[in-house]
Amino acid sequence: MGALVWLLIAVPLGTGAVLACTGRRGDRLAPAVGIVAASVTLVLAATAAVLRPAVSVPLFAGIDAGLAVDGLSAILVVTVATITLAVLVFATVELGPGRARARFTGLMLLFAGAMLVTVTATGLAVLLMGWEVMGATSWALIGYWWHQPHRVRAANVAFVTTRAADLGLYLAAGAALAGGVSTLALPALPDVSRPWLTVLTAGIVAAALGKSAQLPLHFWLSRAMEGPSSVSALLHSATMVAAGAYLLLRLQPLLAASGWGEPVVAWTGAATALVLGLVAVAQTDLKQLLAASTSAQIGFIVLAAGAGGVAAGTMHLVAHAATKSALFLAAGAWLTALGTKALPALRGAARRYRLVGVTFTVAAAALAGLPPLSLWVTKDAVLAAALQRSPWLYAVGLAAAVMAAVYSTKAAWVLWQPEPADAEAGWDTEHAGTRRVVVSAPPALVFLAGSAAVLGILALPPVMQVWSNAPGNASSPAVWELTLSALLALAAASVTWWWGDRPIPVPAAARRWAGQWLRFEHAADVLAVRPVMVLARGLAAFDDRALHRIVLAVPAAGLWLARLINRGAESPVDGLVRLAAQTARGLGSLARRPQTGQLHQYYAQAAVALAVLALFLVFVR
């Protein structure tokens, strides 16, 4: 039993590591090996979802490394494994022979494996390990085309931004230990004593919101688009952004225990869903539009976690994963065929490649919340939970749902327009298109779009009873809520379709602002990156010019002092010694004078001495 969960993470991580290290030699075999490994992982994930294995081994003193598949994890491991397989099947199209496929496939497997570690971890330490490895592999995947500096810069922005948020998890681990939960086990975290509970919750929330590209750290997701479309399809659906949402769903009891966590998370999610919905509408690039919609849709899951709707949030996560991966793969298929992802240039693309167009449209309709597709049901389950907390939360969520209908329809409308005569002029801006959709693309697209359509059945109460651990908190939407959101979505979609590409009556500055993702990246650059660089340069200059000089000044001062002593003390002392020697020599030669060797002179000297002595005795005594 225990071996199952080890295998589940070891197969993708091990295969991925080996593939990534083979270099160009492994390119030929890599797609096949990758698909086999992903298939095995899927089988293992499905088995684990049924058998629910759990293992635990010691990691640090008092802290175990535990992996387990429970209700929530079961759904996620199956989702992650399924989407990884579908994306890898598709990726053989996007990255044809001659590309560095071994590196790509290996990193994708590592990426998915890290997500599997994250969702099966039973404690903060192992969760953080999966979490960070996922971030690092996303860096390598976003910067896959490393020859182009702007792509590497984008990868750097994505990694540094998410790692800034990840610091919250380090903080949370320390706070959990300080607050008395020495095992760092996730279920025990709500028992942490105050005030550490506040630190712990703040750390978890910051890390999760950053990873899930929620306001105000949403901008990294825009930059993450620089990677291949297959990467986007995985990163935006079942991994990376989903990890933050998963963490909040998993630790919902912690949010509840903290007292302030639930409303903060719920409102952040709702605000992101609405604002990034607006941003998505303002995009003129298909992949950017989809990226903004990812932030917005993950916002619904975050809202669910904050509103206590764990089951609803999980359903939305799964349904969105299928939907979004289908959309990105379709966008990737067009990008490969036509060499562009700019919306105006893609006019008529759906007519040219009909199967891609149809699958894209099904997924877009699901994204729009049109009945009876999956996201319609799951989103309403989330909103039902929100309504139990606050009608305002519900209202904002509903407005965000309307935005989803608008941006989805906008994309579909452009794609189904008749192809203009000069269409080719807009193509091949990213790279030379192949003008065809390769055979392995349709199965992946059809499967994912089909899932996007039907996954709503997860929300049917009898089905939900089967997989949900906590039947009590499953908030089913009322009939009026379903009807209301369906009507709103239909109305918004119809109006958008009718409106077409006529300009929207808002100031151009506002459109541009939304188009640039609210320019938060610029703000982060001005407020954080540049000051840090200035500080760093200043300190480096201080280090070289002041601190090191002081150190060098010590021996210099020593030398100076030595010279001073040499001149100021050594010479006078030496002089004194010389003087003494000269005096002694002078005295010596004086003393030699009486030594004449003549007897009569000695007598005379003795007489004078005696006379002096006699005089001395007479006068002094």
Partner: protein, 501 residues
């Protein structure tokens, strides 16, 4: 056993010294590899025979200067065994890396063999005077390595290094004498002094002794503001010298804290632990920020060493603050600190050897002169990328195992300092990614070097054989840390008990 590990390289050096230099450089280079490998094998055997729960092992004590209380006393426990192992591993890596060395090979090999004895001796010494002798000799040995085989302004850097660290060692000696005088009877034996803790309740005298020892060790570690000898010494040292300097010699400072300062002066240590914490967090942030601004690849790595050493200082300081933390947290912090010594030894050693390749090929460490090296040298780029990610604390590598324990264990007792130190891993991430981007990614640009071909040769076999094992060890510790932590943890817990007296 221990004396064999310590003196095997020295004996080998004595034998090799008798061989005339005219027999060819291969003889010396290959015998160095053989001796280093034999030493590593001995250390592995010692590790296998070591019982972690048994405390000090392989002890040996012979009278040396009995009238002064000085003896030849050696032994290893969970704090020193990992460092002895890293030392043996790093010297072997340097031996393999230096197979291609051509300049004055005989004296180079003799000097490094001597340095290995000195380093192994220091980590096994259980007598303050013995420790001091090795401490000083390491400075002398490294001075000659930098001055004779360095480049740039090597003589000047070597002299700065020598004078600065020598002053530190004098402060250390002063502190040792102070400690010995306080003990009745006078002794320099570390085990006896740790048992007696002679300066308990001595107030200002104890503080002065700790100050002297602290400054001596802080210069060697180095911590801010005593670090300025490090960047020039590293920049101008040969690659193998840099690897040993960063991987082994810096550990002598941090090892001194856990072997001498903490257990011998427990009460004073607790009293001034907050000062240590502040110095630690300053080193973390200052080192990271200054590294971010560097243009020279090797200098940048040197400053990240200051940053990494800062985490150790933070942890040992936090382990001295009893308020707010339980024994588990403090033990985690100390275990993390020792793991960080091992991890930094492996990773920074590897990074300096990699930097040496840059200089070997193109005579320059200037990051702005290179770009897109991943094209002509994919293995070099891939290995550097992995080591860089390991160095920034990515899970799956040893750095994470160390830093996670340090942060988790230190947060309770030094909350604000640890939270600030967390920023260090973010800045390190930024600067290493920036360096990878500048040197290895983007379009190809290689500086011209006189007499060199226009391409950039990828890792040679001897280079790969020296660097990859270091990386493999870092991964082994990162994925399966228990084999290391099982050794360190009991010793860390024992140390915490001593500090808590």
């Amino acid at each position: 056993m221990l004396s064999l590990i310590v003196f095997l390289p020295l004996v080998a050096a004595a034998v090799l010294a008798a061989v005339p230099a005219s027999v060819g450089r291969r003889v010396f280079a290959v015998s160095w590899v053989v001796v280093a490998a034999a030493d590593l094998a001995l250390v592995v055997a010692a590790w296998i025979g070591y019982d972690p729960s048994g405390g000090m092992a392989y002890e040996q004590q012979l009278p040396w200067i009995p009238t002064a209380g000085v003896s030849y006393h050696v032994g290893i426990d969970g704090l020193s065994l990992p460092l002895v192992a890293v030392t043996a591993g790093l010297f072997l890596a340097c031996a393999i890396y230096s197979l291609r060395q051509t300049h004055r090979v005989k004296s180079f090999v003799l000097l490094f063999l001597g340095l290995q004895t000195v380093s192994q001796g220091l980590f096994t010494a259980l007598d303050l005077i013995l420790f001091f002798v090795y401490f000083d000799l390491s400075i002398v040995g490294m001075y000659f390595v930098i001055a004779r085989w360095g480049h740039g302004s090597a003589k000047r850097s070597a002299l700065t290094f020598f004078l600065y660290t020598f002053i530190g060692s004098l402060a250390l000696l002063l502190g040792f004498i102070g400690l010995s005088l306080a003990a009745q009877p006078h002794t320099f034996d570390i085990v006896a002094l740790a048992r007696a803790a002679p300066l308990a309740g001595s107030g200002a005298y104890g503080a002065l002794v700790l100050l002297a020892i602290g400054i001596g060790l802080a210069i060697k570690t180095p911590t801010v503001p005593f670090h300025t000898w490090l960047p020039p010494a590293h920049t101008d040292a040969p690659a193998a010298g840099s690897a040993i300097l960063a991987g082994v010699l810096l550990k002598m400072g941090t090892y001194g804290f856990v072997r001498i300062a903490m257990p011998l002066l427990p009460e004073t240590w607790r009293q001034y632990a907050s000062v240590v914490v502040v110095v630690g967090v300053l080193s973390v942030l200052y080192g990271a920020l200054v590294a971010l601004a560097q243009e020279d690849f090797k200098r940048m790595i040197a400053y990240t060493s200051v940053n990494h050493m800062g985490y150790i200082i933070l942890a040992v300081g936090a382990a001295g603050i009893l308020a707010g933390s339980d024994e588990q947290a403090r033990s985690l912090a100390v275990t993390g600190a020792v793991t960080q010594m091992v991890s930094h030894g492996l990773l920074t050693g590897a990074l300096f050897l990699l930097a040496g390749i840059l200089y070997d090929r193109r005579d320059s460490y200037d990051m702005s002169a290179y770009s897109g090296l991943a094209g002509p040298a994919p293995v070099f780029a891939g290995v550097t990328g992995l080591v860089a990610f390991a160095s920034l604390g990515l899970p799956g590598f040893s750095g994470f195992i160390a830093e996670f324990q340090i942060f988790t264990g230190s947060l309770a007792s030094a909350t604000v300092a640890t939270a600030l130190a967390l920023l260090g891993i973010l800045i390190t991430a930024g600067l290493l990614l920036r360096a990878l981007h500048r040197v290895f990614l983007g379009s190809l640009r290689i500086p011209d070097a006189p007499g060199a071909a226009r391409d950039f040769t990828d890792l040679r076999p001897s280079e790969a054989a020296s660097i990859l094992p270091l990386l493999a060890m870092a991964i082994a510790i990162g994925v399966l840390p228990r084999f290391l932590l099982d050794v360190i943890e009991p010793a860390a817990t024992a140390l915490i008990g001593m500090v808590g007296r």
